[in-house]
Subunit: 581 residues, 2 copies
């Protein structure tokens, strides 16, 4: 009996139109769309999510996906919901124009991603992976593959999956053993077993397109020997319609802690017919397009699951009366108890930080593409592992706070809080564990380039500190918050610079760097969250007349500064220690 879902429209209106000092939607679209238009999209998605997807969230958890006589049975309602989702054009909304999609700005897609995941994370994974595959095929596929497969994915008629992991090849993709052998007609025969394949089988769409990493005969060992193949569940007839069943079978579904509604498949390829996507040996590069898309989308999933947990906890705390509330006259709900209020503010200020960073990063990628500016692209790429690693770890902790708000009821499954806690736990694992994100961060994005991109980020934060100090706030309250935010952010960015210099100093003793790479990633995540709140303070300080949400945004920034940001100092101390041998 989880709470009703409501899309966070006012936050998106603020992020699109104000938080970054201009209308970022207008900038991204050259004025074709404005923040107001984007909010309309968000509202439409919110309505669809609240009415169609959210009511199925608990059903999906309770029933789960099941394998019956070799066929995957989705939870009650999921098939109809998927069809309605595709027909409403929400898959097409994720696709770029070059692939036949709507080409919406990343900032809008960030909002959509949050909303689908908040209303029903298990369901949302299907569209999330399909969108990732669309981006990958758009980047690497031949015209044939584009015409036959990409168009059907973009229309939402078919769905897509991502096949990397094998029993002996998880984090270490170089160990992949699935073999692709050339066939006479130019296609390939794939043989091997893939595990943990999300939405790997179902009957909501008329076909499923598997994007599979496999090794070609005589390929070099390791990752360089991997190529990418498109393997349809049903072979495609000359007229483009699905025909005979391909030789890929669903051997088992996993029995998981959470996201029960999402079928997690063990797929067996028994000389299944596949088609090369991209160059031979270029599989990892092609898959990386999909992975990158999926990693950013994980930031939106983290925000979504976290916001749903927050909405559940807030609704419970607002409705539950118990005990006299300290310092409050008369009857007050438990939301007013100091520690429940602390938990709710801890959750809501963290959700805002994730949400804002997700929008910021998505917009940054658009700016990088529009301007071709290598430094902007480098900054955007720096943020991918931070967003994925930090937001998913935060979301796990946050869903635990959500349970705590409920007291004993939180431990009872029917309440709904426990589902978020269970669902969230996969996020820091799939699409690359937090350790993998942190290796990417320190290796490719900090040590390579000698910390220049991290320093570019810090310089931007310095600028925000300067703007906080010079802000001519309309109210004394805003002035005080701005001053505190400036002091805290300045100390935070100093800690981040020290930690970065420590990481660079470990360049010749890589175990030291890798032993503290996760703390370093979290440090940059928490600092970025504080930066997002600081930008909100700058925006609010510019208001001549206070807006409705101003007080709440100032309080949120102040709370984040006092409760979340101080972690950077602890993390910096950890980073400085290197490996404890």
């Amino acid at each position: 009996m989880s709470a009703e879902y409501q899309a966070p429209t006012s936050d998106y209106a603020f992020l699109y139109g104000e938080a970054f000092g201009l209308d970022i939607i207008a900038r991204a679209t050259g004025g074709e769309l404005t923040a107001d238009d984007a909010v309309d999209v968000i509202e439409g998605a919110g309505d669809f999510a609240a009415s169609v997807l959210a009511p199925l969230e608990a059903v999906g958890d309770r029933e789960g996906a099941r394998l019956v006589d070799g066929r995957v049975q989705l939870p009650e309602g999921f098939v109809d919901a998927y069809r309605a989702f595709a027909e409403a054009g929400w898959i097409t909304a994720e696709a770029p124009v070059s692939a036949g999609g709507d080409g919406l700005p990343g900032a809008i897609r960030a909002g959509l991603g949050e909303i689908w995941n908040a209303s029903n994370a298990a369901f949302a994974l299907c569209g999330l992976l399909t969108a990732g595959q669309i981006h990958a095929l758009d980047a690497v596929a031949s015209d044939d593959v584009r015409e036959t497969y990409l168009s059907k994915l973009v229309s939402g008629e078919w769905t897509g999956t991502m096949n990397l992991t094998e029993p002996a090849a998880g984090t270490d993709l170089g160990a992949i053993r699935t073999i692709a052998t050339p066939r006479d007609d130019g296609s390939w025969a794939l043989r091997g077993q893939k595990i943990f394949i999300t939405w790997g089988d179902h009957e909501a769409a008329e076909n499923i397109v598997h994007l599979v990493l496999a090794r070609t005969p005589d390929a070099p060992a390791g990752a360089a020997g991997l190529s990418l193949f498109v393997v349809p569940k049903f072979l495609v007839n000359a007229d483009g319609a699905p025909g005979a069943r391909n030789a890929v079978e669903t051997v088992a579904l996993e029995h998981k802690l959470g996201i029960h509604g999402s079928p997690t498949c063990v797929l067996s390829y028994e000389d299944a017919v596949g088609y090369l996507a991209g160059e031979i040996g270029g599989g990892l590069a092609g898959m990386f397009v999909m992975m990158n898309s999926a990693r950013i989308a994980m930031g939106f999933q983290a925000t979504g699951i976290a916001d749903r947990a927050l909405q559940q906890a807030s609704a419970y705390a607002a409705g539950r009366m118990q005990g006299r509330v300290l310092g409050r006259e008369g009857a007050a709900p438990i939301a007013e108890h100091p520690d429940v209020r602390r938990l709710l503010l801890s959750m809501s200020t963290d959700v805002y930080a994730m949400r804002a960073l997700g929008v910021y990063v998505a917009d940054l990628f658009d700016r990088a593409e529009a301007t071709g500016d290598a430094q902007v692209l480098a900054l955007a790429e720096l943020f991918v592992p931070i967003l994925k690693g930090w937001a998913t770890e935060e979301a796990v902790a946050l869903t635990s706070e959500g349970i705590q708000v409920h007291g004993g009821s939180g431990f009872i499954e029917e309440t709904g809080a426990a589902q978020h806690y269970r669902d969230a736990r996969i996020m820091p694992i799939y699409e690359g564990t937090t350790a993998i994100q942190s290796n990417d961060l320190i290796g490719r994005k900090v040590i390579r380039g000698d910390g220049a991109t991290a320093e570019a980020l810090f310089a931007q934060i310095d600028e925000t500190v300067a703007r906080l100090r010079s802000a001519d706030a309309a109210t004394p309250d805003a002035s005080a918050v701005a001053a505190r935010a400036a002091d805290r952010l300045e100390r935070g960015v100093a800690a981040a610079r020290r930690a970065t210099s420590d990481i660079l100093g470990f360049a010749s003793s890589p175990r030291d760097a890798h032993a503290v790479s996760v703390p370093y990633l979290l440090l940059l995540g928490v600092l970025s969250g504080a930066w997002m709140h600081a930008l909100a303070v700058v925006a609010v300080s510019g208001h001549e007349q206070p807006h409705a949400d101003d007080a709440a945004r100032l309080r949120a920034a102040d709370f984040y500064g006092a409760h979340h940001l101080p972690r950077v100092h602890a993390l910096a101390e950890t980073v400085a220690a290197g490996e404890i041998a």
Copy 2:
């Protein structure tokens, strides 16, 4: 398919005989028992737990307790296991001599508590609550009640429950509405509904003794109107044997996130016959004896669940090979990957901190009783909310790290890691949420007495800092660790003093104090954990010849100092902020 369980015998040998600078078992028993004897008890318990209880842990989770035709059916094997547990004398081992028990030192009972909970937390709750009721009845019950009920509880023939919560009275016990009306024969008739009653019904024992908080007619409103009643499931015949069924019914079992093997009951009292325990209106005081016992036991449960999660993760990481390990020649398991090693050390050093603090606090209560020293008792009582609040919160975070070590397999239920994560989540809620612990801490134990007891703790930590500085360590490694530990602990205790002074400063604005009471509690918990590690460094530094575990204990202290202790600085900054209004 979770890992085999092994009791942490070498840690207990170190804690009993060395860590605190003397044989604390000999001190507690006036030389009747020694640390070696205590280790024998731990080994015996470990064998029983590994062979009888641990194999039922996954069974209990999978089957759960079920209500069939009004009767509670325990998971397969639980009834036999309970009978073997009671017959082996493990319940009697928990009871004081005054109640007919073995009167084992608290430090040994700490170890037993950990072991039962590590091997099977859902099962262990039955004995945990029975032991708590034994302590309560021993303190408040009349001779009649002692003779009829207490003796059967101590023998393990009957089990005990704790009945506080009602649908509208959880944290706020003053709102309890269950009514006890006097009957002609001096007994009472109880009417009302109690929820969340752990092991509230089952058929493993021939009778169940409910200790029930209820309101007498015309009693004053609030907590002062509550009295304590003993209500047996079966009325007791003149010969002491269970007779007719009493009017208490199991209306429902809860469907929970974890501890599925433990029946969590909704009990309905329909003029059930009960017997007063203690004074009319003295119910809360009597129940508090049981609560205090249960809260300390929660520290042991936290250690137990955490250690099991650690054992599971360590076994997996030691056996799983994947990828080349940075800085290691040849094949190495994933346990050697820098970030997996970080996770395992984070877990193991936290488990040691909890385990050591549990033993320390249990021993402190023995010392307080033996000496009658009010300051020692005050220190012991200061630690109850810290141990309960901090250790249970740490255990939740730690079981999450346990899942992370496994990667994708951690999310699959059959692996076993997820059960610990689900089981652990109730601990910061039941027996008083972390907020309740923190209110107790700042209200009764810090602000009352103007911080004197906290200062007594800090003074002891100062002493340890001095001993670290003057330690004449046998190896350069030990010297370096001792020096770092001294510096870190000194900064840590300074942060704790500032935070305490902030809390005292909030005395006139109680919402400020209560809004940061949980961060304050966690600060003292983390600091105490570092103190426990520092005492281990002092003990190890005294070795003329290095012992087998010395290097590991030094590394553990160093790791805790670099990865856990720095949190105190972040928490102190949060405490200083008070409520963000």
